[in-house]
Structure formats: C-alpha cells, structure tokens
Symmetry: C2
Subunit: 531 residues, 2 copies
C-alpha cells in the first residue's frame, strides 16, 4: 500500500483540506536556515469552531460504539503512516534536522505504539469493569447493583512536540491514547514541522475513511503563534489537553485550562534534568564505562530528549577524576548535531550561557556552534556547594550538554539529591557492595521521579505496560499519569457507574454475559466469566 500526499499548507478539518485567510508561515530547514515550501496557513477562530463542531458530532456518534472499530482505526493509522513511505522521512528530516536512521526507528516506535493501543482496546480489560451485584435481602437497606467502567470524555486537544515529530507528533502517543480511549482529537501542529504534521493528518484521514469512522474524529490546525493553541484550550467543548514541550509553554496551557469557567485537565510533560547518581563503588568498579554510557545518553539526538541526563552527581576522588577525564574526552570527540529549530538553538545557547556565567563553573569542554543550528556538545562541572546555592543550575538545558556535580562526600551528595524537585527520571549507578547506600538514594529519588533506573541511562523510553513517563511537577502537570505506556489511555477517560440498570442498557463491558470476554472484578473477585 502506498499513500502519496502532496503538501497543501492547509488545515485538515473533518476530511477537508482548508485554506484560511491571513498570514502564514514556512518551515525552516535547521541544517541550512533556508525556508521550505509550501506556505502554511494559520488557522483562525472559524477553523477552531468548525473543528470542535465536527469533533463533538463525531463523539456523539462513536461514544458507545464497540471497541473493535477503534482498534481497527489505530491499526489502519499505523499502516497509513508506513504507506507515506520515504517522503515522510525526507520531509521530517528537512524540517527537524534529525537523521534518517533516527526517524526510521522513531517511525517504528510510533507505529508500535498505535498497535499496542489497538491490542489494548481489542483485549478490552483496560476499561476496568467492576461489578457489585445486588443483594435485595440485605438489612437495614437492600444492596443495589452497581457497575462501573472507564468511558471516553470527548474532544481532546493535542499539542505536537518538536523533539519527537513522530512519536509525540500529530499521530504520536497522546493522539494514539486519546483515540484508543474513544475520543476525537484536534491537533495543534508544530510550526517547526508543519509538513510532517500534514502528512500525518493525511494518514489519519485515510485511516478514518478506510474504517468508516466519522472523519470529524481527527482535525489538524496550523498556527505559528500561541493564539490558536490558546483558543483550543479555552474552547468550551474541549475536555482535556495533551502536551509535550517546555515548562514555560506547558505551564501557560495549564493556567489557561485551570482558569476556564469549566476547568479541564492538562497532561503536560515538560521535561526535567534527570539526575544521575554515581555511587563510589560503581565509580571504582566501572567509572570509565559509565563515562562512555553517559556521554552517549547526553549527546543522543543532540541531547534533545526529555529524559536526557542533565546532571550527574559523583564523589570527588581519583576514580572520579578518571571518570571525568574519560567523559570529557568522549564529549570532546562527539561530532556536531543540528538542533531541531532556531527556537531550540536559541534556548540552548541561553541555557549554556546561564551555566557558564554561574560562579565556580568549570568548563570541561566548551562545545561550539556552527552553521544555522549545529552544535558540538559541552560539559560543565561545579562543586556541590555552589550548585546548591545557584538555582539556575537546576534548570533544564535542552541540547547536548551536561553538568557534573562534584560532591565531597556521600553525605553531601545525599543532601543535594534531597533538594531536587520533580523529575521524569532518576538514575543510580551502584557497585556490587552498595545495596544499602543505593537503597537510601532509591528511597529519596523514588519520591521525586516517575521512573528510577539502575545501572543504566534514562534516554530511551520503552513502550510497555509498566512504563511511567511522568513525574511530579515541574516534570509534568499531572503526576498521577504517564504519557507513555498502556496507562496513558486512562488520562482521557473517566469512570462512570450504572446502578440497577437493565442488562440491555448497560455497555457491553458491563453486561451479565460478558460479551467482550474481558477480565472484570465481580463482587471483589477478578474473573472473565459471565455472571
């Protein structure tokens, strides 16, 4: 199957490619700084209204449809994305500067993600059907029949992320989980890769047509500024927001949503510094191997991962010196990366400037910039004492750099780690005889992170049932959720209970006969049998 799509620069609203009046924008090739064709229209309020109207109507039609249709939609979407074939990779490469190999593996992950949710939806138990049957004889009051399950909520606004144009893009994790739960999606395209987004929208349209679901289930709107994003978040018909990006943008969206007459949840993943702790025994046993692994994790994808380890803590001493030398050498010999876009490049330059001007900073390797957005990595070091005094050294530097925190003792390291705010991840490298110390650090870190990694590196987020890609604020605005893994579907649902409902009026997941053959809790026991 092949899906040829010629870019139009238009929005997709309910199956129509829509040109709007007014200004527009072109993507820019970050490798050259040259603007790319075509010109992309910026949406206005009319397009916002139209998209929500169609999404609301689509939701009305599909809310109670059997899950099979949604599973087929997700699978068809994965197929359509593959059918976009090389032109998708080529366009994404042009717009993001990311290399082909990376985009191919990201495409695989994106399709796997869609298929994982298809499987989850088809299997069906994710709705958490719980049934308490009646007891009319109970005294003093008869016990009613109560049954609950998770239901979709309605139109979800998804902000496409710049650093994963596929996996967190227009048909990435947020869209996949929102559709899987049964919700229509309105995507705010990313101005840095609008062409990639348009191609994904074409894939979504093709998948909707193939599966016969309402085409209002997916819309895509372009805008270079914040206006349309804000209008989407504030629209009365919006029920939730998915976002991956900067703390500043994420918090602004969260604030808008909280200030609505009817507040809605915002699932914003806003990155973090992902502290990595090297215990003395680990340093002694394999400090240089850790240096190699850390260098790779810091520079992978130009350091533009939400899970990039931005801070590494170690205890001063001879093994630490060898680690530092090795890491410096690795960083110094890593080539330049083209950063995603001018805005990321500017932000990274500022972050490096902030670090370099902090008192007591040692510049272990000063990366430099060339071309439009090409950077070689940088490595900094500071004493634990100075790090604790300078809050600006806790901020994320989104790009290929890391900051080593040299501690005088384990005690000082512990004192540092105890001051960390919410993080997506935390990593502990421990030696063979450091179980007790590692346990103490695990206790401190697990209260602050979404995922705790041992003897590894945080980059690379496995898409699996158990994954948590989340964490306390400021890593996210919704610490009780994850944006990767099976649990991500729950963000876009709410529980609904039926009391004393006639069997025929119950959703199939709650009917006595268990027609979907799902695992349910019946009177406190899990079973897949009928009642």
């Amino acid at each position: 199957m092949s899906l040829a799509h010629t870019l139009t620069g238009r929005h997709l609203i309910a199956g129509e490619w829509v040109a709007s009046a007014g200004a527009g924008v072109r993507a820019v090739d970050p490798a050259t700084g040259v603007p790319l064709e075509p010109f992309f229209y910026q949406a206005g309020m009319a397009e916002v209204e139209w998209a929500f109207h169609e999404a609301t109507e689509a939701f009305r039609q599909t809310r109670s449809l059997p899950p099979e249709g949604r599973a087929r939609l997700l699978e068809a979407l994965a197929e359509s994305i593959l059918a976009l074939d090389h032109p998708l990779i080529a366009r994404a490469q042009q717009e993001s500067g990311l290399p082909e190999a990376r985009l191919l593996s990201e495409r695989a992950r994106t399709c796997n993600q869609l298929r994982m949710f298809a499987e989850l939806v088809r299997e069906g138990s994710w709705v958490e059907a719980v049934i308490d049957t009646a007891d009319p004889e109970r005294t003093p009051l008869p016990k009613p029949d109560v049954r609950r399950m998770h239901m979709p909520i309605g139109p979800v606004v998804v902000f496409d992320a710049s650093n994963f144009p596929f996996a967190f893009g227009a048909c990435g994790g947020d869209t996949a989980s929102a559709l899987a739960a049964g919700n229509p999606v309105i995507v705010k395209a990313h101005p840095a890769h609008p062409g990639t987004d348009e191609m994904f929208a074409a894939a979504a349209l093709q998948a909707l047509r193939e599966t016969g679901l309402p085409i209002g289930m997916f819309s895509l709107l372009h805008d270079a500024g914040p206006e349309i994003g804000a209008a989407l978040v504030k629209h009365p018909a919006a029920e939730a927001v998915g976002f991956t990006g900067s703390l500043r943008a994420g918090r602004a969206i969260f604030d808008l949503a909280a200030q609505r007459p009817r507040p809605i949840p915002v699932f914003a993943e806003m990155g973090s510094v992902n502290p990595l702790i090297i215990l003395p025994g680990a340093m002694e046993e394999r400090g240089e191997a850790i240096a190699d692994g850390l260098a790779q994790s810091v520079t992978m994808g130009g350091g533009q991962f939400c899970t990039k380890p931005g801070l590494a803590f170690y205890v001063a001493g001879e093994p630490g010196e060898r680690f530092k030398a090795r890491l410096t050498e690795r960083i110094a010999t890593t080539g330049a990366t083209t950063l995603l876009n001018a805005s990321v490049a500017i932000g990274y330059r500022e972050a490096c400037g902030r670090i370099r001007s902090a008192p007591g900073i040692e510049i272990l390797y000063a990366g430099d910039a060339s071309g439009f957005a090409d950077f070689t990595p940088s490595l900094y070091q500071v004493s634990a004492r100075l790090w604790r005094e300078h809050p600006e050294l806790r901020e994320e530097a989104f790009g290929p750099s890391a900051l080593l925190i040299r501690c005088d003792s384990l005690k000082e390291m512990r004192a540092c780690v105890e001051t960390l705010e919410g993080q997506l991840t935390g990593t502990i490298h421990m030696g063979a005889a450091e179980l007790q110390t590692a346990s103490e650090f695990a206790e401190i870190l697990s209260a602050r992170v979404g995922r705790l990694i041992f003897n590894g590196y945080p980059t690379g987020v496995e898409v699996c049932h158990a994954m948590v890609h989340g964490g306390p604020y400021p890593a996210t605005t919704a610490p009780q959720t994850t944006s990767v893994g099976a649990l991500a579907i729950r963000r876009f649902t709410r529980p609904v209970a039926w009391q004393n409902a006639p069997d025929l009026l119950l959703p199939p997941a709650l009917q006595n006969a268990n027609p979907l053959k799902i695992r349910r809790m019946v009177n406190g026991e899990w079973t897949d049998r009928a009642i």
Copy 2:
C-alpha cells in the same frame, strides 16, 4: 473498649493538644441557636507549619513501610470511633441537628469505609503492580526490566464537610483513602462541628498510638474563616487536597492550588442538582409510587445530600398530574428538619428565594421556616421552556426542596437534558416498554454524570468497589476520580516505575517472589504467582 475524651477546644498536632493565641469560635446548636462549649482556638501560621513539618517527617518514616501497618491503623481507627460511644453521637447531634438514628447509621458507614480500605490495603492488589521483564536478546535494542506500582504522594489536606460530619468528616472517606494509600493527613476542621472533629482527632491519635505509627500522620486544625484552609492548600509541602462542600468554596480551593508555584490536584466534590427523568411509560405504570420515592429522596436528611434529586423532568398529561398531586401531598405532610447550621439555612433561604422569584414558577408547596434553622420542605414547578431560559433554575438548592420541570413532549425533555452540565448522578424511571427511549436518555445522561440510576433514587451512596461518587465539573474538579468506593484511594497516589532494579531494591509488591501474594500483571498476563 471505651475512649473518653473531654473536649479541649484545641488543635491536634502530632499527638499534642495545642492551644493557639488569638480569636476563637464556638459551635452553635442549630436546633436552638445557642452557642456550645467549649471555645475553639483558631489556628495560625505557626500551627500550619508545625503540622506540615510533622506530616513530612511522618511520611519520610512510613512511605516504604509494609501495608499491614496501614491496614491495622484503619481498623484501629474504626474501633476508636466506636469507643467514643454515645458522647460522639450526642455531640454531633448538638452540633449538626442530625437525628440520632441517622448519626448511628452514618457512624456504621464511616467505620465500614475504614474497614473496606483496610481490607483493600491488606489484600494489596490495588497498587496495580505491573511487571515487564527484560529481554536482553531483543534487537535492535535490549528490552529493559520495567516495573510499576502506585505509591503514596505525601501530606494530604482534607476539608471536613458539614453535611456528613462522620462519613465525610475528619476521619471520613478522604482521610480514610489518603491514609490507606500511605499518606499523612492534615484535616481542616469544620467550624460548624469542631467538637465532633476533636473527638475524631482523639480517635485518630489513639489509633496511631496503638499501632505505633508516627503521630504526625494525623493533625487537625480549627479555623472559623478561610485563612487556615488557604494556608494549608498553599503550603509547599501539601501534595493534594480532598474537599466536599459548595461550588464556591471548592472552586476557590481549586484556584488556589492551580495558582501555586507547584500546582497540586484538588479533589473537590461540590454537589449537583441530580436530575431525575420520568419517562411517560413509568409515569403511567407507577407515577404515584415514584412520587412517594421522590418525596423521600428529596427530604431525607433535610435534603442536605450531595445526591439529592433537585430537578425532576416529566411529560405533561393526566398521569403527570396525578404524580404531581401525590408528590405535593407527600411534601406537604413531611415534617420540619433542622438544617445543619446557620450558613446552610441562609444559603437555602436564598436559593428558595431565587427559585420563587423566577418568572412562571408555580409554588406547589411553600415550606416555611421556624425556630433557628427549622424548615419544612418546598416543591416548585416550571415549564421546560422557562426552565431553559433561566440559568438560575439549574443551581443547587441545598435543603429540602425540588423543582419539577414539566415538558410538553419527550422531545422537549430530551432537549432539556442535553443542556445539563456535569452532575454527580442522573436517574431514569422507565416503563416496561421504554427500553429504546431509556437508552437514548441513558446515552445523553451518562456523558454528563458520574452515576446513572435506573428506577431508583440517587440518595444513598453504596460504599463498594464499583461506586463512582464524582462527575464532570461543576459536580467535581476532578471528573477522573471518585470520592466514595475503592477507586477513591487512587486519588492520593501516583505511579512510579523501576527499571533494571536489583530485586532487593524493589518495593515488596514488585519483587520476583511476590512476597505480598498480590495479583500483578506480568508481561501482559494477570497472575498472583512469583516470577
């Protein structure tokens, strides 16, 4: 066992009964308007700091303790509450005006709730342990071992509700579920029943002492105004808020929490009008029985239930006239109730005034007020057309009244129901041959409510696994949760993942041997076996 507690008027902070400087307040007997002894101190910022300091320290000590201790704490708390014996009932009766029989049954529910959570915690599967084991041979990248579970979050602020001084009181559902999840609790006492609260605090202290858990796990602070509540919500160490009460207060707390430098979730249950729909067939078959049931549901507990059916929709006609006459008669012959406190009485008087002054309102029965806060119930009626034009007729009237909406047709009734905002409950009365019509209304209502009831009444919230006591805003600020039933525990947790952790560093729930013998998802399959 007996627990004698003489009221002190003091706060409880980490086991100490604390008197604070400055102003104070007395409870008032709503049956007489007479202030009650003793004088209760109002907390200041020093008490807030102290309570959080102790809560944070208690959390540090208990966060990773085995669940058995928490189960025993909840059971001991239920025992201590019973041990408070008649003086608790007598004080609550004096402070709330609620009759003894109601308080006895509410006490039973409160203790059952604590025991249900104890059972849930001891059984242990509620943590949703999910394990994906490693596959080092996978290409292109080895698959890591990832394991997740729900973990407690830290100090939870609980606002005690006025209308259920036991079940949603200082040791009610929010406190029970927060403690069950492993969190310390700081309760803001309700100024209408501070003595009842103090007795519950004494029970909590006794339970903490008996089970040897840190006494900082539970504190109780008094305040007559909003200052201490606001300070608790804004405190940097607070992690979540549980609240049951009015829309105005709930929204104010939500706004404060959203505006924090680090926002925290607010689980506010703010009531609703709980629409009840009577389909024509049901009206024909048993309109008078429905009138009897509805009258009881409206006036039960003085109509001071979050789930009181405040609006009832029916189609005009002869059976409807008979229903209306019967309902009016039932309402007219229901005796007076003492409302909970002066503030509830004032609010109810205002709400009735608002309804009575709306154009086209028929006053079917005008209840009246006597004494300090004694009201007989009222019944109003309005046409569907006028109801749709007057948004003030959608607001909750917290007290013993209901508003009938007379529709000219089923179509008009459907049009009304489609305009309803979020509700805790919706109820449908259907006749034997109305499956199709009921299904259409169920579809509309289930998108707007937390719980949908058939041929019954919404008052009386069963504490069971399947219960949902929640719903879209403005019923709650957190539609994805429930404040009653087993699922309520999830509000005060967040998922944490461990990647490639040595078995000994994993929480017991995630260890290979499954020492807690809980049900876990291992590589996509649910099992209670070891790995």
